[in-house]
């Protein structure tokens, strides 16, 4: 068949696909008049024409035109259309805890890297009042001391920030803490060393401040401030570290895959962990800004809320989504419910 006859026979199909693609590529949702259901069939037909045009050596211009149509159609046919409400709900009630339980070994490793130095440094700084200066410089130490001075109206803030709004502190906690968590995750790409380093340094700093302030006699303001959000915040950092170590493990111990393949698979599995860590830290920032700082609440109530938080977090990760179908396992290998 000559090219001219071929074009004359099929140009209507090409025009229909062209019009449909123009409608689908529009930003707005296609209207009821757009025959969306015809896309697969039209694309199959034009794909066939493209293959024939190439095989018969029709003109490069015609082949290029059909190639462009096939590319555009392929892009529209495979455009992801995630159903956000269902995805997020499933993620919150089952997907996130399931993901963490799948990687519980790395989670405990991250906890050891984070809480180990924290406890050791806390005990050491409690015993030795000067030890904190080996980690923080004296202006930082003075700032922490002023933040938890028992005479403050607002706990956890320096005297110059006493009047600051809770909303401002919320913004600061999100920007700072979630930023730290995301860096902890991303730097896991350096064979896990970056995540391990950030976990340990944060553990050391938190332990040092806690031990030092307790030893100074600021125990009540400090512990009543941190208890409320401690469960969410510390777990969030540990989960972000788990995600980072997961990236690093792909390079250190890729198993039966090549390193690039292992990296792709484990990075996809790390996504729910990172998202979950972000959610935990935003919740922690809410609690920290609007609840923890209030000095009017009796410390025993704050301790009670803090302990309740730990019980809830433990129950959530221990039990949520146990009975539900594990979508990541049920799907094809390496797939996560987010793709």
């Amino acid at each position: 068949m000559r090219q001219h006859a071929f074009e004359a026979a099929h140009v209507d199909t090409w025009r229909r696909l062209e019009a449909l693609l123009a409608a689908l590529e529009d930003r707005r949702a296609p209207g009821p008049g757009v025959p969306v259901q015809r896309l697969p069939r039209l694309l199959r037909a034009v794909s066939g024409h493209y293959a024939i045009a190439r095989a018969r050596g029709y003109s490069p211009g015609l082949v290029a035109r059909l190639h462009a149509l096939v590319r555009r159609g392929y892009r529209q046919l495979h455009r992801p259309r995630p159903r956000w409400p269902q995805l997020l709900l499933h993620f919150a009630v089952a997907g996130f805890p399931q993901a963490l339980r799948r990687h519980h070994r790395l989670f405990w490793l991250a906890c050891a890297l984070f809480f180990g130095p924290m406890l050791a440094m806390g005990a050491a700084c409690y015993a030795d009042a000067t030890l904190i200066h080996s980690l923080l410089d004296s202006t930082q130490v003075a700032e922490y001391e002023s933040m938890y001075d028992p005479t403050n109206d607002k706990l956890g803030r320096t005297p110059s920030r006493q009047a600051d709004d809770d909303v401002m502190m919320f913004g600061f906690y999100v920007w700072n803490n979630v930023g730290i968590a995301l860096r902890t995750f991303a730097w896991g790409l350096l064979a896990g060393a970056g995540s391990g380093f950030v976990l340990m340094m944060n553990g050391l700093a938190i332990g040092a401040v806690a031990g030092h302030l307790t030893q100074l006699g600021f125990a009540a303001p400090f512990w009543s401030f941190v208890s409320g959000h401690s469960s969410l915040e510390l777990t969030g950092i540990a989960v972000a570290g788990t995600a980072g170590l997961l990236l690093g493990s792909a390079l250190l111990a890729p198993g039966r895959r090549s390193r690039p393949a292992a990296l792709r698979a484990r990075a996809a599995e790390a996504v729910p962990l990172v998202l979950g860590a972000m959610a935990l830290l935003v919740l922690a920032a809410l609690v920290e800004a609007f609840w923890s700082a209030s000095a009017g609440v009796p410390p025993t109530l704050k301790y009670g809320v803090g302990a309740g938080g730990w019980v809830l977090v433990a129950a959530y990760f221990g039990f949520a989504g146990r009975g539900a179908a594990d979508s990541a396992r049920a799907g094809p290998a390496g797939a996560v419910p987010w793709t």
């Binding site: 001219h4 004359a8 794909s47 211009g61 096939v70 392929y74 709004d165 909303v167 920007w175 990075a267």
Partner: protein, 259 residues
């Protein structure tokens, strides 16, 4: 029907050094993506950076609103710093900077980027950025044959040029002329390509190329006209309606005419 022959023209030898990535779609045809290198991507980043800097400046008056304003400013800072590219990539496959440079983010199989991959490749910018100004990312891009930075390697994504090169014009209509001898497929395609490109060439260049082709039938005939005639003979045959122009090309070419 022309003789079926193995496809010679646009299938380079395996391992060819070019920036086209080919793969087969589920429909069984092969499509090609043009990868984007470090320079257009760096320019796209610069444009995005300028847009973000402009947004920071716009939001700066919020700081005047004391506590609440500063809190919102910090929240906006966080979102712009980490999630600005994700938002745009999920909407249209490209940030405004990439769109301006004609770039597009896709999965390794050419499908539009999804939430998981987009989040990964953008959060991992923090690693690509090390030690300064995307040092690691640039090193990874230069070492990888698909120009992927670390975030792309982990997320399994590619950055490609959105548009194929501009399509050549339709074959100019000309009285068909049989070739002096049967032409093989590669020569036929060369003749067709010449005819499609002829309108973009100067008359002198057309004459030079046509003389080089050496397909002139009669002595003294215009070689350009002869070549265009052969092109029409190949694509339309020597039939009565051969001279009738086909309206199809104009429609397929011009997206403005699509309803």
């Amino acid at each position: 029907m022309q003789e079926p022959q193995p496809q010679p023209a646009d299938q380079p030898a395996a391992g060819a050094i070019d920036t086209l990535r080919r793969f087969e779609t589920p429909e069984g045809v092969e499509i090609a993506l043009r990868l984007a290198g470090p320079v257009p991507r760096a320019l796209a980043f610069a444009i995005d950076f300028a847009i973000r800097a402009g947004l920071y400046l716009l939001l700066l008056p919020l700081a005047g609103l004391a506590g609440v304003g500063v809190g919102l400013l910090l929240l906006a800072l966080f979102l712009l710093e980490w999630l600005y590219p994700v938002l745009f990539e999920l909407r249209s496959g490209a940030t405004p900077g990439k769109r301006a440079m004609g770039l597009l983010v896709v999965h390794a199989d050419g499908t539009p980027v999804g939430p998981s991959a987009s989040l990964l490749r953008n959060l991992l910018r923090a690693a690509d950025f090390l030690p300064v100004l995307y040092g690691l990312g640039l090193a990874a891009m230069l070492a990888d044959r698909d120009f992927r930075r670390l975030g792309d390697l982990a997320a399994g994504t590619l950055v490609i040029h959105r548009d194929a090169p501009p399509l050549p014009a339709a074959l100019p209509v000309h009285p068909p002329l049989p070739p002096p001898a049967p032409l093989d497929l590669a020569t036929q395609q060369a003749v067709l390509a010449f005819a499609e490109r002829s309108r973009t060439l100067s008359p002198a260049r057309q004459a030079e190329l046509a003389a080089l082709a050496g397909l002139t039938t009669a002595p003294g005939a215009d070689p350009v006209a002869a070549l265009l005639g052969i092109a029409n003979w190949i694509s339309r045959g020597n039939t009565a309606d051969a001279a009738a122009p086909l309206p199809a090309h104009a429609d397929v070419e011009d997206p403005a005419q699509a309803p």
